[in-house]
């Protein structure tokens, strides 16, 4: 586990003040065919809040956050993102996707485009930003993730950690209100995990609303306002990190923590 030393990140109480609901999920259910993946999910995320979602493999963590930008479709209940309810209305979906950035386990950069083009494509073609301005923004975020010098290279020429940082920058270029992370460090070699986590910590410090699926419990302790524990498609326990780690309520949470923390 990566060591996270500083704890400069704002904690829950500070967040709740600037109110405003970012994501509200109520009574949500989802099936893959006959398989009931998500059961009765209720989750409320305030603006500026950082939620870490943990749980055993196959518990539905990825599916849950993919529902938030409609990469997966839910069959029951409501998901309201930034005031927009997700239905089959494509306009609404596109609206939500513009405001919600996502970072994937396997980076999913566009291999046929340069790093800079990866970052400018969506601002130019979705937001209609002029090219020069989009490139300026892209360079700003590439500097922020500390790889401006790679701008003209192609994704295939970068290391995993660098690619993941580009993926974060690419999302940020759309100026999203909410960022979703699906195990952003799981495909990385240990020595590259820190560079990605550092970027995420600095994002959190800037007050970005974040939903992070991760097994990096150090990150959760340092950054999260809330830790959500999922098992078999249900939210089993949800608590602030302090209590979640030191005083888990549920037997399954205890078992999971004992495994993951050795």
């Amino acid at each position: 586990m990566t060591k996270q030393t500083q704890t400069a990140v704002k904690k829950p109480t500070e967040v709740e003040e600037n109110a405003g609901v970012a994501i509200e999920i109520t009574g949500m259910n989802k099936w893959f065919g006959d398989f009931h993946v998500l059961r009765d999910i209720d989750l409320k995320v305030m603006k500026g809040e950082r939620i870490v979602i943990a749980g055993p493999s196959g518990s539905g963590k990825s599916t849950l956050i993919r529902c938030i930008n409609r990469l997966e479709e839910h069959q029951q209940g409501h998901i309201i993102v930034d005031g927009t309810e997700l239905t089959s209305d494509i306009k609404k979906i596109d609206e939500v996707r513009r405001e919600v950035g996502m970072v994937f386990q396997h980076f999913n950069l566009f291999p046929h485009l340069s790093i800079l083009e990866n970052c400018t494509l969506a601002p130019i073609w979705v937001r209609g930003v002029p090219k020069a301005e989009a490139e300026e923004t892209a360079m700003h975020y590439l500097e922020r993730v500390k790889i401006p010098e790679q701008a003209l290279k192609y994704p295939g020429q970068l290391s995993g950690g660098q690619q993941q940082r580009v993926a974060i920058a690419r999302s940020l270029c759309m100026n999203p209100q909410i960022m979703l992370f699906d195990e952003p460090t799981s495909a990385l070699d240990p020595e590259m995990i820190k560079e990605v986590l550092d970027v995420m910590v600095s994002l959190a410090e800037d007050g970005m609303t974040m939903l992070v699926v991760t097994h990096e419990m150090g990150f959760a302790r340092q950054v999260a306002n809330q830790v959500v524990f999922m098992d078999q498609g249900q939210i089993v326990e949800q608590n602030n990190p302090e209590d979640f780690f030191n005083n888990p309520q549920h037997a399954r949470t205890q078992e999971f923590l004992s495994q993951i923390l050795h």
Binding site: D94, M102, N108, H112, V126, Y154, G156, L180
Partner: protein, 392 residues
């Protein structure tokens, strides 16, 4: 340290020298590649013997004993015993191979010289020249103005070709398509087939993956029907059966029917090639595009298709090559393409000799080969250029 004269470290750098000849140079290469083992050596020897057996006669026929065009060369030279390919015949009939029965320009045909011979078929030659002028910069990767270039080539040029060849306007003599022929027709069918089948194939491939059942079913049926029918059948149906269903008095040009048949037929194949490319792309690509807010068309246009098509360039070019060669099947329904022109020219009694037909076919084959080989090399070049070092 005790003094001694033994130096353990070299004081001088040994000059650079090439590796021993065993692994380098011609001898080394031959050793490594042709005689690396006993079985390899045997194959090399057998192969060399085979080449020595077949190459000299082929060379003799095509070059050594061939009858080249020139002053005073007549059909008698081609009839002589031991004569090889009768290139003089090809030279004499060249315009027929290229233009078929396209009418000659009344004025220029009476003139002498190179310019006159070009101007005799100036309408077709102008079409060739403009086509080349538009196509070369389009295929040249670094040149700019690709959009303008594409519009000129794909939209303006076909209209130009149509009026130039058909005539009937601007004081041009009207030329019915039955008079078009030779390489001209082969290139027209091949090019139209290529230009129509790729975009149509892409649309069909996307339709086949559509979530909308009507579109999906239509595309699947279209693809499967056309793929399941031999091209010859398609051409026969287009030329013989279609007119039966037409209202009385209404006809569709025979060449046009063949063009449509060939294009739709190739589009069905192209669709499957493109689908292969689409399926090879990891799902993460479209998910990443979607998560950035790109809608279906933008995602397809910027992310999915560029990659999918790049992956299947060999398959696409393979289809193009197959299509270009298949154009020769239109000869069966009486369209006067290069192969048909060759067949007809071969019957020409002025050049009747034992090697006349084979020379004609060798010539036609060489032309087909040149175009197909060109496409193949071009695609290899593009593959290298588009490689950004990523392996999915």
């Amino acid at each position: 340290m005790a003094k001694n004269n033994l130096a353990y470290v070299r004081t001088e750098i040994v000059p650079e020298s090439p590796a021993p000849d065993l692994s380098k140079g011609i001898i080394g290469w031959v050793k490594n590649n042709l005689f690396s083992s006993i079985s390899n050596s045997i194959m090399t020897i057998v192969g060399a013997m085979f080449l020595m057996w077949v190459l000299p006669p082929i060379y003799g026929f095509l070059f050594g004993n061939a009858v080249w065009p020139g002053e005073g060369v007549t059909v008698e030279d081609c009839r002589a015993k031991g004569a090889g390919a009768c290139w003089a015949y090809i030279d004499d009939r060249m315009t027929f191979f290229i233009y078929g029965f396209f009418p000659k320009d009344a004025y220029w045909v009476t003139q002498e010289g190179l310019i006159a011979s070009i101007m005799t078929y100036w309408r077709v030659n102008l079409v060739f020249a403009v086509g080349t002028l538009l196509l070369v910069p389009l295929m040249w990767p670094d040149l700019k103005y690709k959009l303008l270039n594409s519009i000129l080539f794909f939209v303006v040029y076909p209209v130009f070709v149509f009026f130039m060849l058909t005539g009937g306007v601007f004081g041009l003599e009207e030329v019915p398509t039955v008079k078009w022929g030779g390489l001209t027709v082969t290139l027209i069918i091949g090019l139209v087939g290529i230009v129509v089948s790729l975009p149509l194939g892409i649309v069909l491939a996307l339709g086949r993956q559509s979530k909308m059942p009507i579109i999906k079913t239509f595309c699947i049926m279209f693809i499967e029907v056309w793929r399941a029918v031999p091209l010859i059948t398609v051409l026969f149906m287009a030329s013989v059966m279609l007119p039966l269903f037409m209202p009385v008095g209404m006809t569709i040009d025979k060449l046009l029917r063949a063009l449509v048949g060939v294009s739709l037929f190739s589009a069905a194949y192209m669709a499957e090639v493109v689908r292969g490319g689409l399926q090879a792309l990891p799902k993460g690509q479209s998910e990443a595009a979607a998560s950035l807010g790109l809608n279906y068309w933008k995602s397809m246009g910027f992310i999915i298709l560029p990659q999918a098509l790049k992956h299947v360039i060999p398959g696409i070019v393979n289809s193009f090559i197959a299509l270009f060669k298949d154009t020769s099947l239109v000869a069966i329904v009486g369209i006067f393409d290069l192969l048909r022109a060759t067949q007809v020219a071969n019957l020409n009694l002025d050049w009747a000799s034992s090697n006349q037909a084979i020379t004609g076919y060798v010539f036609a084959a060489a032309i087909f080969w040149a175009f197909c080989f060109g496409m193949s090399r071009y695609s290899i070049m593009m593959e290298h250029r588009l490689d950004t070092g990523h392996k999915n």
